[in-house]
C-alpha cells in the first residue's frame, strides 16, 4: 500500500486500536487460565528485575551528584532530596523503566510471538480450534501490563536510595534536613502521577510489543524488523505520552 505518511499512520493507529479491543474482549476468558498469566508476569517482570534495579541505582546516584552540584551553588544542598524524589516519582522512574522494559521485555515478547507465527504455531492453534489471541497474546499483554508498574515502583525506590547514598552518605547533606525537605515537597498527587504513568506506559509498551509480534512477517527477517519496530515505536510513544501526561498533571494540580 502506498499511502501518504499521515494516512499510513492513521491506518496503523486504527489497526492497533482494533487489536487492543480484541485483547480487551478476551481478558475475561483468559483469566480462566491464571497459570499462563503468572508465567508471563515472571517472564516480563522477574527477568527484567536485575537491569531495572541496576539502572535505578545509577540513575539515583547521578541525581544525587547533579542535585548536589546545582543546589550547592545556591547554598541549598538540603533540596537534593526534593529533586531526586520528584524527578524519580514523576518522570524518571516511569519513563526510564518503560524504555528499559521495551528493550528487555518488549523485544522478547515481539520476537517470541513472531517466531511462533513464522513456525506456524499460531496457525496450528487456530487449526486446533484454539484462539491464539486469547492463548498467546492476552496472557503476554497482561503479564507486561502487571509487571511494568511493579518494575517502575522498584526502580523508583532504588533510585531514591541511590540519591540519598550520594547526597547524604557521600556529600554530607544533613540526613534530617534531606528527608524533611523531601517529605514537605512531595504529596500524594506526585505519587499518583508516577503510578498513572507507569500504568499507561505498561499498556503502551505491552500493546506495541504484542501487536508487532502478532503482525510480523512470518520470516526470520520479518521477526527481526518487528523487534526493531517494537523498540522504536514504544520508546517514542512513551516519551510522547510522558509529555502529555506531565502537562495534564500540572493542570490538575
Amino acid at each position: 500500500m502506498n499511502d501518504s505518511l499521515p494516512v499510513a499512520a492513521l491506518r496503523r493507529i486504527g489497526a492497533v486500536t482494533v487489536f487492543l479491543a480484541q485483547i480487551v474482549a478476551r481478558i475475561g476468558p483468559a483469566l480462566a487460565r491464571p497459570g499462563l498469566i503468572v508465567r508471563q508476569i515472571y517472564n516480563a517482570g522477574a527477568r527484567s528485575l536485575v537491569i531495572i534495579m541496576l539502572s535505578g541505582m545509577f540513575v539515583g546516584m547521578v541525581l544525587g551528584l547533579l542535585g548536589f552540584d546545582v543546589f550547592q551553588r545556591f547554598g541549598s544542598e538540603d533540596y537534593v532530596g526534593v529533586l531526586a524524589a520528584l524527578g524519580n516519582l514523576k518522570v524518571l522512574g516511569p519513563v526510564l523503566t518503560a524504555l528499559l522494559f521495551a528493550g528487555r521485555a518488549g523485544t522478547s515478547l515481539t520476537s517470541e510471538i513472531g517466531l511462533m507465527k513464522s513456525t506456524e504455531q499460531l496457525t496450528a492453534m487456530q487449526m486446533m480450534a484454539v484462539d491464539p489471541v486469547r492463548y498467546v497474546v492476552v496472557p503476554r499483554f497482561l503479564g507486561g501490563f502487571i509487571a511494568m508498574p511493579l518494575l517502575a515502583a522498584t526502580f523508583t525506590v532504588i533510585a531514591l536510595y541511590g540519591a540519598q547514598l550520594i547526597g547524604v552518605q557521600q556529600m554530607g547533606v544533613d540526613s534530617g534536613a534531606y528527608w524533611s525537605q523531601t517529605q514537605a515537597a512531595v504529596d500524594l498527587h506526585d505519587v499518583w502521577e508516577g503510578v498513572v504513568k507507569s500504568l499507561v506506559f505498561g499498556v503502551a509498551v505491552s500493546l506495541v510489543a504484542v501487536y508487532e509480534g502478532y503482525h510480523s512477517e512470518p520470516t526470520p527477517e520479518g521477526v527481526g524488523l518487528a523487534t526493531t519496530r517494537t523498540v522504536v515505536v514504544s520508546s517514542v510513544l512513551v516519551l510522547l505520552l510522558n509529555y502529555l501526561l506531565t502537562a495534564a498533571f500540572l493542570k490538575t494540580h
Binding site: 517466531l115 511462533m116 513456525t119 506456524e120 504455531q121 496457525t123 496450528a124 492453534m125 487456530q126 487449526m127 486446533m128 480450534a129 484454539v130 492463548y135
Partner: protein, 283 residues
C-alpha cells in the same frame, strides 16, 4: 471425543466412499493472480486422497480453503456437506475439532514439552481428569513410537520425530479428517518411510479420511487411494497413482518423471537472449 465418531451432517449413516470434502468450481486469487480457477476436487470418506503438483500451484492454499483459513471468490467448498465459507467463527472452530492437521514442520508449541503438546487440544477442549489425559496422550505417543520422548522439549527432537509428535497431537482428539501438509519435506529416507507407514496406519486403523498434499510422487504412490495432479490453478489429471503414472498427458508425464522442460517451462519468461546479452533494448 466430543463428537460422535461417524456422524454426517445430513443425519444419514455415513458410509465409506461418501464425499467428505467437495470443492466445486473454486476461483481464488492473490493480488490479481489466479491461484485456482474452476477447481473441482473431492475427497471421500475413509480414503487417502493425495494432491500433487509443482511448487507454487496452491496446494497449501487448497488446504487453507478446506480448513476455512481463506475463502474462495467463487464456487463452494463443502466439508461434511456444509459450506465452509458460510460458517461463523464458532462453527468453524467446531468443524476444526473434527479435523486434525499436520504442518510442514510440525508446528509444535516451543514452550511446552512433547507430552504437553499432545495434551494441548485435550486441555483446551475437554475437562478430562489428569488420569484420562495421561492415558490418551501416552497411547497416542506410543502409536507414533515416541512414548519414551514424552518429556523432551521440541527443540530436542529431530525433524522426523517432531513430525511424529505433531501427528500424535493431530489425532489426540480422534478427528474424522486428517490433513497432511507436505509431510515428507526435508526428511531422511527412514523417517520418510516411517511417516508414510503412519499415514497409512492411521487411515486404516482409525477409519480417518486423509488428505495429503505433497510433491513426493513415489511416497504418495505407495499409500494414496485417489490422487489429483494440480497445475496452473486446475486439476490436470486425477485417478489412482497407477493411472497417473501411465498417463500420456504431457503435464502429467513431466511431473511424474521429473523432466526439467515441458508444459511447465524451465525458463522464466524473459526477453530475447541475444538482445539482452548485447545490451540492446528489447522491443
Amino acid at each position: 471425543m466430543t463428537e460422535p465418531q461417524n456422524s454426517s451432517s445430513n443425519g444419514s449413516p455415513a458410509q465409506a466412499g461418501d464425499a467428505v470434502i467437495e470443492v466445486r468450481d473454486v476461483r481464488y486469487s492473490v493480488g490479481g493472480r489466479a491461484i485456482f480457477d474452476g477447481l473441482d476436487v473431492t475427497a471421500r470418506r475413509g480414503r487417502i486422497t493425495a494432491f500433487m503438483g509443482p511448487s507454487g500451484t496452491g496446494k497449501t492454499t487448497l488446504l487453507r480453503l478446506i480448513t476455512g483459513q481463506a475463502s474462495a471468490e467463487r464456487g463452494t467448498v463443502r466439508v461434511f456437506g456444509e459450506e465452509v465459507a458460510q460458517m461463523s467463527q464458532s462453527q468453524l472452530f467446531a468443524l476444526r475439532r473434527r479435523m486434525g492437521m499436520l504442518f510442514q514442520n510440525g508446528a509444535l508449541l516451543t514452550d511446552l514439552d512433547v507430552y504437553e503438546n499432545v495434551a494441548f487440544p485435550l486441555r483446551a477442549h475437554t475437562d478430562l481428569t489428569e488420569d484420562l489425559v495421561r492415558q490418551l496422550v501416552l497411547t497416542k505417543l506410543h502409536a507414533v513410537g515416541l512414548r519414551g520422548a514424552a518429556r523432551l522439549m521440541p527443540s530436542e527432537l529431530s525433524g522426523g520425530m517432531a513430525r511424529r509428535v505433531a501427528l500424535a497431537r493431530a489425532i489426540v482428539m480422534d478427528p474424522e479428517i486428517l490433513i497432511y501438509d507436505e509431510p515428507f519435506v526435508g526428511l531422511d529416507p527412514i523417517s520418510m518411510g516411517v511417516i508414510c507407514r503412519l499415514i497409512k496406519q492411521m487411515n486404516d486403523a482409525l477409519g480417518i479420511t486423509s488428505i495429503v498434499v505433497s510433491h513426493d510422487v513415489h511416497e504418495l504412490a505407495t499409500i494414496a487411494d485417489d490422487s489429483y495432479l494440480l497445475s496452473g490453478g486446475r486439476v490436470v489429471a486425477s485417478g489412482t497413482p497407477d493411472e497417473l503414472a501411465r498417463s500420456e498427458v504431457a503435464e502429467v508425464r513431466q511431473f511424474m518423471s521429473g523432466l526439467a522442460d515441458g508444459p511447465v517451462a524451465y525458463h522464466f519468461p524473459a526477453g530475447d537472449y541475444r538482445a539482452d546479452l548485447l545490451g540492446e533494448k528489447s522491443p
